[in-house]
């Protein structure tokens, strides 16, 4: 018997041509990482409460916001602390996933791994 499970596994393949590094990486890994945001921001970023949704966020804005949170001198907000739990590359993957969902993955900035500095 055959199933088409992989079609969902490959979610995001459509943007592989515009998103950085997407062709070389497993997009289901990004999906799994990004799913950890859903407990507070809603399934696939569709928020039903007062907390901001992530459905209209571009890759660029989300990536820069998360990187800013990671570099706060004095982390104060809950999101500063959440962001500090991830690596630069994980932040990039999460931003890419939501940017892809919103159709704004092509505004991607150059990825810079700050750990190597």
């Amino acid at each position: 018997m055959k199933i088409n499970i992989f079609r969902t596994l490959c979610l995001g393949t459509l943007v592989a041509s515009v998103a950085p590094q997407a062709q070389a990486e497993d997009l289901t890994v990004n999906r799994l990482l990004a799913s950890q945001c859903a407990q507070c921001h809603g399934t696939n970023g569709h928020s039903v409460g007062d907390i901001d949704g992530l459905t209209d966020e571009s890759y660029k804005d989300l990536y820069e916001d998360l990187m800013d949170m990671r570099s706060e001198d004095r982390p104060e907000n809950i999101m500063d602390h959440q962001a500090l739990g991830y690596t630069d590359d994980q932040v990039r993957r999460i931003a890419l996933y939501f940017g892809t969902l919103s159709g704004k993955a092509d505004e991607a900035p150059e990825f810079e791994d700050r750990r190597s500095r």
Binding site: M1, I3, I5, T8, L9, C40, T43
Partner: protein, 421 residues
């Protein structure tokens, strides 16, 4: 592994019409995953299995109840901010929107070799993968009567009973609360509850007269230490008496008497939060060894006990050492679902790219007063050296606030919806 990996990537880059035959599936039908337990872990697993597999996996969710009552926010039933009814999650969305087959029944036996699970009413059910998410079981003090001295640690009738007992607290009343040794469900929960009981006393104008004695089996506060120390020492300094290293040996409920190794404590209201372990269903199957919780591989949540191929345990029942909370249960369910889908598609779960990106996130809001809350943030990542999940960053609110209290409901709305709808 490399063959599977290559095939997987080739398939991704090629036509969307290519199919992959899942391994280990004999029947000429869609693969079948059975989820036992419809709390936060089980409901999230059922939903995401359908969503992420594009509905190509058949999912059966088994739970003895028609709906799930959330423990999240249930301390707010005690101070009458919300009712228990508002915490009832139904399975209607899982069945109608996601096509999960919801069965009201109770699982009582696993046949690991035969890959089937027995339901009390429905008989044997075959599975390709089995996800067990049955939550906690209380280790009862021998003489306790929960009708008189409720635990209220699984939201339900006992929560309402404790609420009405607390409503009757008067001048010179003593409320006793006991906290079990870690690990237990919801690490900040007991301290949060102590704060809300103190707030009830304060708002009745009984500060300096009624009091809360908190008997902790642990040597220190187990979560949000800065917040709760501040609350116990300052905000509720005249109300809360916090005593460490007190292990409950028995409870004489009719007398409100708590017997411990060091002394007896007597209260007008006694709230015993007992020691906890995985449910008998898991322990009797041999999935905990001789221990209290089920040992799993955090890359897949598959049992580490041999003879249980395709059996996964998520949420409060498993032994990874991540906090036992609804938020974490939801987080683990997604990692487990991802692993099951890959496994059915013949793609390796120990691929380095995946292994480097296994994370679970926890956020938790704790009400401290009638209209103020604090929060805790924790992110865990898989550590390749230890083979375990390790904390990568922990944060705690600097102070409790009304803004946090408001945000708590936004957090809960999305957590409830992401898990059940």
């Amino acid at each position: 592994m490399s063959m599977n990996r290559r095939r997987f990537l080739q398939a991704c880059g090629a036509s969307a019409a290519v199919s992959i035959t899942p391994t280990g599936v004999k029947a000429a039908s869609a693969p079948h995953v059975v989820v036992i337990g419809g709390g936060f872990a089980g409901a999230t697993a059922a939903k995401y299995l359908r969503m992420w597999s594009d509905r190509t996996i058949d999912v059966t969710l088994v739970d003895p109840n028609a709906n799930h009552t959330s423990c999240v926010l249930s301390n707010l039933v005690l101070n009458r901010r919300i009712t228990l009814k508002e915490l009832k999650m139904n399975y209607g969305g899982l069945s109608s929107f996601y096509g999960v087959n919801v069965v009201r029944d109770r699982a009582n036996k696993i046949d690991g070799a035969g890959k089937r699970v027995r339901l009390k009413e429905g008989g044997w059910l075959n599975y390709d993968h089995l996800v067990i998410a049955t939550g906690i079981n209380m280790i009862n003090p021998p003489s306790i009567d929960y009708k008189l001295t409720p635990h209220a640690w699984i939201a339900g009738g006992q929560t309402n009973r404790l609420a009405s007992q607390l409503n009757k607290v008067g001048p010179d009343s003593t409320v006793i609360m006991t906290i079990p040794k870690s690990p237990y469900r919801c690490p900040p929960g007991p301290y949060e509850r102590a704060c809300l009981i103190a707030d009830i006393i304060k708002r009745k104008g009984l500060e300096g007269s009624a009091r809360v004695q908190v008997l902790d089996a642990n040597s220190s506060i187990q979560a949000e230490k800065h917040t709760f120390e501040n609350a116990f020492n300052n905000l509720y300094g005249n109300i809360v008496e916090y005593i460490t290293d007190v292990e409950v040996e028995d409870v004489i409920s009719t007398e409100g008497r708590v017997i411990t190794r060091t002394a007896d404590y007597v209260g007008d209201v006694v709230n015993i939060i007992p020691q906890q372990r995985a449910m008998g269903f898991i322990r009797n199957a041999g999935l905990t060894g001789d221990g209290l919780w089920a040992s799993v591989d955090p890359l897949t949540y598959a049992s580490t006990v041999s003879g249980f191929d395709g059996v996964h345990i998520i949420g409060d029942s498993q032994a990874t050492g991540q906090p036992k909370s609804a938020h974490m249960a939801n987080a683990q369910a997604k990692v487990c679902v991802d692993a099951i889908i890959r496994s059915l598609a013949g793609v390796a779960n120990d691929d380095p790219e995946r292994v480097a990106n296994i994370t679970t996130a926890s956020a938790c809001y704790s009400p401290i007063t009638y209209d103020q809350a604090s929060w805790l943030s924790a992110v865990f990542a898989y550590n390749t050296d230890s083979g375990q999940m390790a904390l990568t960053h922990l944060g705690e609110a600097e102070r409790w606030s009304t803004g946090n209290y408001k945000q708590m409901f936004g957090w809960a709305s999305n957590l409830f919806t992401d898990s059940f709808h």
